[in-house]
Symmetry: C2
Subunit: 210 residues, 2 copies
């Protein structure tokens, strides 16, 4: 079974989080949401029961776990997903544990998949991923160093040989094409089509082509 | 300030709930989510602190309140929103309190707005709303009595003179056009355009025209 780890923090964009989690579940992917605390790290504590995440527009979501970096790596999950929402994205981008986690997925010999959407793409900068095609919410575009090849596309798929496939996207409005691209990469085009059908998209809006 | 009451229950479609709540907040609408318990009614109990709602794909959301029918009426809120997800929609459709609530919004002399999406449209049947144009998830289409004028459209706006405006829609894939239609009705087209912009929709997918 394909497994995905989806990060969440206070200030996470609740639509981007929920669209990713729910739609991946519809594709038969086992999803685990992991809370990223702000500031001082609680790691080393034995208490990993997560608090409620208060999202960007005050929807309160109970994550499945609090992130334990020792058991959240690319040996356990096929994909790592980082949603936007400025508050949550800043917490994730500044977290040493998240930076290390992203690098471990990026460099894992069994090619993993990393998804970042909206301000979540900031983590590609702080994790010091090498330059490659990328996109993000326009409000953080100016933060990307020049070695990234910034694109104003709904979804950007970057496949550096021997590294994780990096899928980036722009905002809540591109969250469906983002997650369908992840499903196609992880489970194939037939599964993508199977999931799209019962969700009843207006014609022309299912993310083909991204 | 425009105020909306959004229902939630175990089995509610978490994308439809979250897209509605979050996007209405972006429009400056004050949102309150109200939990609908399944089966035996707790009303009369003084404990209105809500439990976690376990949604259709296992996202766990803490509602703002448990529904108190005495303070949830059209005197307090401008709009009543009913998301889909079969489990949650059945709970709502079978709830006498929800049926009464929908009728009170429908008949209130200061024209209110009622939104139902996906299987949430089932409540229009059990609340015995009069026949009018309507849509829903295709999986429940056959349940609508013939006096409803069923339409296979992304969003259906029904404005019976002197009654609430009833806005219905089809599924997660039409949730954005659904909520933007509600925003346009409640706050005007300029506000809709203002909210759409920073959400970065692919061109042609913002719900114009529905």
């Amino acid at each position: 079974m394909v497994k995905a780890l989806i990060l969440i923090a206070d200030g996470t964009e609740e639509m981007e989080f929920t669209i990713a989690y729910d739609t991946l579940i519809r594709a038969g992917i086992e999803c685990t949401s992991a809370f990223i605390p702000r500031g001082l790290s609680p790691y080393g504590s034995s208490d990993t029961s997560p608090p409620l995440a208060v999202c960007s527009r005050q929807v309160k979501i109970l994550p499945d776990i609090t992130l334990d970096p020792l058991s959240a790596g690319p040996e356990k999950y096929d994909a790592l997903i980082i949603p936007g929402g400025m508050g949550g994205a800043v917490t994730m981008a500044e977290s040493t544990e998240v930076q290390n986690l992203v690098r471990s997925y990026y460099n894992h010999p069994e090619k993993r998949t990393i998804g970042m959407i909206c301000a979540g793409s900031k983590v590609a900068i702080t994790a010091k991923l090498p330059g490659q095609p990328i996109t993000s919410h326009p409000s953080v575009q100016s933060e990307f160093p020049e070695h990234f090849e910034y694109k104003e596309q709904n979804v950007v798929v970057s496949a550096v040989p021997g590294k994780a496939t990096l899928v980036t996207s722009r905002g809540p409005g591109t969250a469906f094409p983002f997650v369908f691209t992840l499903i196609e990469l992880l489970c194939g085009k037939d599964k993508r089509d199977e999931v799209v059908g019962p969700m009843i998209f207006p014609s022309g809006t299912t993310g083909y082509p991204f």
